[in-house]
């Protein structure tokens, strides 16, 4: 128990240090590229150098990077991500809305990918070497290799008349009931979620197949077969459970990266999520928004890693250090 606790504490410490490093790097990164928010914001026809300085002062950009960094950390500890340079609104509010739009879309796609991927992988492993296996492997490899934005455009082209071409809701529904609203959101979510699902499906299916093949060759599976257990039972209770170790890791890792990786999908489907928020923040050098967004992405990735470590710990009692 103590060792387990010790391990959890260590992993927590590593996670926190990673987040701290990422915060510091993010802070520095955007300040070394040329141009700042004021260089464009202040260029109104009557602008004077003094005015640009005043704006820099207002944003705190006239202070040294060290002072800005300390101020940023201090505010961060108090839960204050600052205000967007572009629209003057709290970053947490901007990001909260964007993340609130991205997460359900990504989660739906991921859940579909997990279910379909695992089912496909298991089927491929059980039917190893058959036509079914080859067909499933080839199709998994194919969707794995396709770029997400291309798949998105293709789906838009093929299914544009059936599903909405973009956006998150039908704004022209009059006072929809909660049920109507939910259906509407799900309807709009279908295509982008499908693209997320397709891009993840391939890797889940391939990994599941490999992991299942390994476990299916283990002695205990042979023993189970010898005991006369049905294939279904063997797969469900003996093979898949053990194969879940690498799969759970992959799922946790890909969940973290997919949130940040949906920029292109969100652009294709005009989905007002975190990807679009980051894109517009980059183009306007909106440091507080960028720092906030990258902080959120970092935390998501680190937390997913952390959770996968903990799951591992629970799934595999052999892991101690």
């Amino acid at each position: 128990m103590n060792r387990g606790l010790d391990l959890v504490l260590r992993r927590t410490a590593v996670a926190l240090i990673t987040i701290f490093c990422a915060i510091s790097l993010n802070f520095l990164l955007f300040r070394v590229v040329p141009g700042d928010a004021v260089s464009n914001l202040a260029r109104v026809p009557n602008s004077t150098v003094a005015q640009q300085q005043a704006l820099r002062h207002e944003f705190g950009l006239d202070r040294s990077i060290g002072v800005q960094y300390v101020a940023y950390l201090r505010e961060l500890v108090h839960g204050n991500l600052g205000r967007s340079f572009a629209n003057g609104q709290p970053v947490s509010k901007n990001l909260g809305e964007a993340l609130g739009n991205t997460l359900p879309m990504v989660l739906l796609g991921t859940v579909v990918a997990i279910l379909a991927g695992i089912a496909t992988g298991v089927l491929g492993a059980v039917r190893r070497g058959t036509r079914t296996d080859r067909a499933l492997t080839v199709s998994s490899l194919t969707v794995y290799a396709l770029p997400a934005q291309w798949v998105g455009l293709l789906l838009l082209f093929l299914l544009g008349g059936v599903f909405p071409s973009g956006g998150r809701v039908d704004e022209f529904l009059i006072e929809p009931s909660p049920w109507q609203h939910t259906v509407d959101v799900l309807w709009h979510m279908t295509l982008p979620s499908l693209v997320v699902g397709l891009t993840l499906f391939g890797q889940y299916a391939l990994l599941t197949r490999t992991a299942m093949l390994e476990t299916l060759a283990e002695d205990y599976v042979l023993t189970a077969r010898a005991k006369g257990l049905s294939t279904l039972r063997i797969v469900r209770h003996h093979a898949l459970r053990n194969a879940m170790l690498p799969i759970s890791t992959l799922i946790a890792l890909s969940l973290g990266s997919v949130v940040g990786g949906v920029v292109l999908i969100e652009t294709v489907f005009s989905w007002p999520g975190i990807g679009r928020a980051i894109y517009s923040a980059v183009t306007s050098r909106d440091y507080p928004m960028l720092q906030g967004a990258f902080l959120v992405l970092t935390v998501v990735v680190v937390v997913c890693n952390y959770v996968s470590d903990l799951i591992y710990l629970r799934l595999d009692p052999r892991i101690t250090v």
Partner: protein, 541 residues
């Protein structure tokens, strides 16, 4: 402001959907569903917003003293006005009994508050609007429906300036203007916005959607539609797909590549108008620039201008939809401002080569000419992702006359800093590609190349005292014919010195479902100088 407009001015459409087949708005009434692409909303705060779309929204939401009908300024909230004999006092007669959308009286007091507050914080939080009050010293209200504006001197641009100044509800904004006025910049102006224009902004979701509902308290003629919903697309393909699938009624600024396809669709109508957005190849004109000083010579610039095949460049860069231009004032702004006598040299690559030969710039072993002991090889700065086709076309043309170009792309945020160079000294840059959007009144466009805009809007580092003197003179010349002659002369000076080689004006391409009519086009992606865009739109089918 214009610089941002320019950067942004690209693709636009507005849309909504009825894809679910569920009940849509419009039971009895009409809702126009518009789609717009890549047209961001930086802010709905009039002191902060710089992009075209939010300015257009404000044009439809706030009262303005005067507004454009076509290219001419006409009455709006002021039904008439007169100027005193000495030209320094303007008296506006406002619609009596007007109200804001929340029922509060809309009077001259709101106009006075807006003007005085903007003047008060002109050096800080209201700088974004203050240029519209250039030459204005004060405003007063003898009664609820009369506004008196005092000018420092007669000002020919006054009316054009007021046509862009929104009148803000004092009862909403006053608290933000307390103290040093910094609250004005932070004011969110969240929907529903207290409105006084033809529409009231009733809903806004960032990166998603805007809903303009007809303002029942509007003092002017009511729009025919009940509401306009504007959906923000991030992909032109998705927007076009939405239009074809009846998820939206109008797509604003569709990609040029799909125009022919849309024209073939019997259920759609496509409109094409030249935009006021002018693309230029600029020269760093700072006479102190240390390197490649041959580029300061107007003869070299003329040679380069005649080596560029502008018709072909225009066709390539705009997929055949743009218009070749010769001056920075495009014909699309009307008013006769374009100096018809000012022409760039016609395309003549051989002639250009001979001009450079005559200057003694002979070709080196690699075919690149040598000027003052170094190769005529230059970096061209431009915003990445937008200008590659222009650049390639120009590089090919100039390559033929022995001038080598190298791409120096940067992102939009650092482009201006890169062109101006460290501390806005204009020492590093040779050439750049940029675009500028002219208003109907030419002053702002002409002022970009003035000495006063160095380290600010002036991207060429160009400074010519004669030109600046004329800029001042045209702004105070009240006789239209004389003013036009001055503006012509300014365009001629720029044609002689060539700080910019004007290339082309792109086209604004809109498409809408054929059962709708009454759309009024403008040379802007979304019209921010008049309320015409949606005023007469109605479903005809």
């Amino acid at each position: 402001m214009l610089r941002k407009m320019l950067i942004v001015a690209a693709v636009a459409t507005v849309a909504g959907t009825t894809a679910c087949g569920a009940s849509s708005t419009g039971s009895g009434g009409q809702t126009l569903r518009v789609g717009i692409t890549d047209s961001p909303i930086d802010s709905l705060n009039p002191f902060v917003a710089q992009y075209v779309l939010p300015l257009s929204v404000m044009r439809n939401v706030y009262p303005y003293l005067v507004g454009y009908k076509g290219e001419q300024v006409g009455p709006d909230f002021a039904s008439s006005w007169e100027t005193s004999k000495d030209g320094t006092t303007m008296t506006f007669h406002l619609h009596p009994g007007a109200k804001w959308s929340d029922g509060q009286p809309l009077t001259s007091a709101d106009a006075v508050w807006t003007i005085q507050t903007t003047l008060k914080f002109a050096k800080s939080s209201t700088a974004g609007l203050a240029f519209l009050l250039n030459g204005v010293t004060s405003a007063s209200a003898p009664d609820d429906h009369t506004l008196v504006i005092k000018l420092a001197a007669p000002l020919s641009t006054a009316i054009a300036q007021f046509a862009m100044l929104p009148i803000l509800p004092q009862h909403v904004y006053a608290s933000a203007a307390a103290g040093d006025g910094s609250g004005l910049r932070r004011f969110a102006n969240s929907a529903p916005v207290v409105s006084g224009g033809p529409f009231a902004l009733s809903e806004y979701r960032k990166d998603e959607f805007l809903l303009l509902k007809r303002n029942a308290n509007y003092y002017g003629q009511r729009p025919k539609v009940d509401a306009v919903g504007i959906r923000l697309y991030s992909s032109g393909d998705a927007m076009v797909s939405a239009l074809r699938n009846n998820e939206i009624d109008q797509a604003k600024v569709v990609p040029a590549t799909v125009v022919d396809k849309l024209k073939g669709d019997g259920k759609l109508r496509v409109s094409k108008v030249p935009s006021a957005d002018v693309f230029v190849l600029g020269f760093n004109s700072n006479s102190a620039k240390p390197e490649h000083r041959e580029l300061l010579d107007p003869r070299v610039r003329k040679a380069i201008a005649s080596a560029i095949n502008r018709p072909q460049l225009t066709a390539t860069a705009t997929v055949g939809t743009g218009t070749v231009i010769d001056t920075l004032l495009p014909p699309s702004i009307g008013g006769g401002w374009t100096a018809t006598g000012v022409k760039l040299p016609a395309f003549d690559a051989d002639g250009a080569g001979r001009q450079l030969d005559a200057l003694g710039f002979k070709r080196g072993a690699d075919g690149v000419r040598i000027a003052n002991g170094h190769p005529m090889s230059y970096k061209v700065r431009f915003v990445a992702g937008e200008r590659e086709r222009q650049f390639e076309s120009i590089r090919n043309d100039l390559g033929r006359i022995g001038v080598k170009l190298e791409a120096a792309p940067s992102d939009a945020s650092s482009f201006v800093s890169a062109v101006h160079g460290p501390n806005d000294k204009y020492l590093d840059t040779d050439l750049f590609l940029n675009n500028w959007m002219s208003l109907y009144d030419p002053t702002l466009q002409l002022s970009v190349l003035s000495c006063g805009q160095l380290a600010n809007l002036n991207d060429a580092g160009y400074c010519n005292k004669t030109y600046d003197g004329l800029l001042q003179r045209q702004a105070t010349e009240l006789d239209p014919a004389k003013r036009k002659a001055i503006v012509d002369q300014m365009q001629q000076i720029l044609n002689d010195d060539l700080p910019w080689i004007p290339l082309y004006a792109r086209a604004i391409l809109d498409a809408h479902a054929s059962e709708w009519d009454g759309f009024v086009t403008s040379p802007y992606t979304t019209d921010f100088l008049s309320t015409n865009a949606f005023a007469g739109v109605q479903r005809s089918g």
